[in-house]
Subunit: 253 residues, 4 copies
């Protein structure tokens, strides 16, 4: 089982709430996914009414909310957003997303490290979204990050694990859980991430924009289980050339 | 459900019997895989005793045997081998494997077409192992093949779907089931094959040489299910650049 | 230097005549490429006038014409087309292209082998366009092919060397020159083909449809030279992980 | 022509001095490469003798030295090293390399930004070696970097352009020259980097550890020229499926 900070997770598939056609569809897909950690953009939480749309659909004992700071551009804004989120959602967990560029939404390594350090001091459990940067991962560890969330490819691109060479280095070196975030476009990508030893994956776009989000959520659920199972069972080596899987017959000679 | 010739299959994971450490391990792994079609090299069937090792471990009502001609070098040898197999195993299904080259075990397109045509006339249900050659697939259809089994990468290499550009053309054009055979090295490869619309996959080496064949068989079982589910639910488009999965917040502005 | 049949080539870049905006542009691009073997679709040769457009632009002592059978669908049509070409262009060299499918233009392995065998008997120097099929290459050798022309990816797709795993096997096993044909979309693809040991490449679409065919022809010319030079100088090994190219300094310790 | 700070370069191939078998071999290879910017690890410069080995072999009017800080672990060490280099080599150009990890030599984004900012204030022309991180590139621009040097893959790995999806974003957004540094293993990789619009590449290991460094240097020289030429001539689009490069013939119908 996966432990992050003080929480135990049975499911290694984390999810998000963006891009669904309706709140009902979102709710059904997230239930189908089995996900126990669901990230919510602070902006989408309506703090002025008692009956907030999204949150009402996430009130299940097995679902932990993970507010994210999507939309902030620097450490100060992120810290401010995290504090609002803590009060509004009554959790000290925060997914730190700092992306100054509106086109590719690539994260800022400098501001992310700064904000992580400060938020840890303020008592937050910090899960920072970052580029697949092995040195940044170690520095985040040094300041007390609860996990690292390197990207597979640009957010929302569905391009899969374009950073795999660096993800392997990160997984190899990390002392905190490694959660692959962003870019996972298909269950096979999620399975692959788990096969190389990731502790979990976060999937949102690929479920929400698929033809059938509920079925796709189920597909991701079992693909993650398959990948984890394969990691533990250890994959065979990749050969430089073929070796027959059936011995050559001599019965005709 | 998948139909090949007159048979219906609930499982889209086909398996083989080579390279396991023991017959017991093989039996347990194949049961864990849920596979309903298991290929056996004719050479490995001992036709001179009543108590053949391998076959004894495959006597389950849900398991259909698929004898293969591994080791033959041309159409004549293949036809002879198929006839022996039909008598010995009491099935007219045959996996046609003709690979004259002992190093890479790549299949021979000319002899494979010739043997398929002849075997169909002799009443066989033929499943030929071939390169990922779209034109050859159509020609095999023309002579009555029951399915086509294009390779993902060289047999036993675990290299995955190196032929994916051609597999997509084959799947797009085929009127018979397409089973990806050879090279699938990890559950993520199997899931990917199913996501692009393959009807089934055949996996042997990746299960047999893994650290834990029984667990790996389970992992492949659910990865194939995940991939099929994703295919039916339709994957989202791959983006040229990122689109945020959470709307940008304006709450700080 | 490269020898095919009885001819010596200084340039390892072969070219084609399709898709240029004008015959003048084609002529200038082909001159810039330095190519000594240029393929021409038989259909485009006007056999009823003395002043055929295309051929007039290819009358250079260093340019050898290589008529191709593009458009034929089987061996018989190919043989007939080759005979017409021999008479019309006064050469017994023929690029054999048999692709029954009008969408992907993938070659037919069966008809190609049959036509090669027949054409060799009829005194032709045959260069067959084929899928990257190692066994087919050996069979073509057996019937006297002058070279093999496996594809990198579908004709005109500019997708590059999608078949590289199989091209390496073909190059490794071949006793006749291996010319990578189809799919090469950029000078880097051509360089890569040469680096893995191809004897030559054939490029048409990538030059003709570029923004500046004459400059692109030059770029391909030197990329092919670079790749060949690198092949002969032997590339260094690809590392599993990094080794510093500069020794670590101790001057600060 | 390429301009960095106040210098104009005719060659877009930058080189390094590590891993050659001898200083003579290095000198000949660098001359063959046509390189006008050569990086030298500070550690390798012997500051206590008048007749330093390496520097004696680099005394050519067309060669500019680019001392690097390889081996330092943080900004302070880097600044100190840069100052020593400026005095010893009489240049204010510095290639900033800060990699605290001795195994993969991945660069530290935080310390690199800090050191760049400080060194620019101290009058240096700074060329920082970094991960392919688009946001970091923009921040380095903000503090006055002269260029950015994102990696293709881990130093010395010869793995090529594993970061290509991010290099394209960087090139697309950059206002300073982009030099692809580290991981380029073959001339085809260098050509590819230039084709996507890089301003230059830096190659060391792939030349030094090849079977023939002088020939390999020449191969890189022309591959870089080919890639640049192709970039300017504009590559054709990559097709989703094939389009014939020769029109289909109707002459047989």
């Amino acid at each position: 089982m996966l432990k992050i900070a003080d929480k135990i997770f049975n499911s290694r598939l984390f999810t998000g709430t963006g891009k669904f056609n309706s709140a009902i569809q979102m709710e059904e897909a997230l239930l189908a996914s089995g996900s126990e950690l669901v990230t919510v953009a602070l902006k989408r939480v309506d703090m002025h009414t008692d009956e907030d749309d999204i949150l009402l659909h996430l009130k299940y004992p097995h679902i932990n909310l993970l507010p994210n700071t999507s939309g902030v551009r620097n450490a100060n804004e992120a810290i401010f957003a995290a504090q609002i989120a803590r009060e509004a959602l009554e959790t000290n967990w925060i997914k730190l997303e700092i992306h100054p560029d509106p086109k590719y939404l690539m994260p800022d390594p400098i501001e992310t490290l700064k904000a992580t350090e400060e938020l840890v001091k303020l008592g937050f459990i910090v899960l920072p979204y970052i580029h697949a940067d092995p040195v940044l991962c170690k520095r985040l560890e040094d300041v007390g990050t609860a996990a690292v969330m390197p990207l597979g490819s640009p957010i929302g691109s569905n391009k899969g694990l374009k950073t795999i060479d660096f993800l392997e280095i990160i997984i190899n070196q990390s002392n905190v859980p490694v959660i692959i975030d962003a870019g996972i476009g298909a269950p096979s990508d999620a399975a692959k991430a788990m096969e190389i030893g990731a502790d979990a994956v976060l999937v949102n776009t690929a479920i929400a924009v698929s033809g059938n989000p509920i079925q796709m959520a189920k597909a991701f659920k079992i693909a993650v289980e398959a990948g984890r199972m394969a990691y533990k069972a250890k994959l065979g080596a990749i050969g430089s050339h073929a070796i027959a899987s059936s011995p050559l017959t001599s019965f005709l000679d």
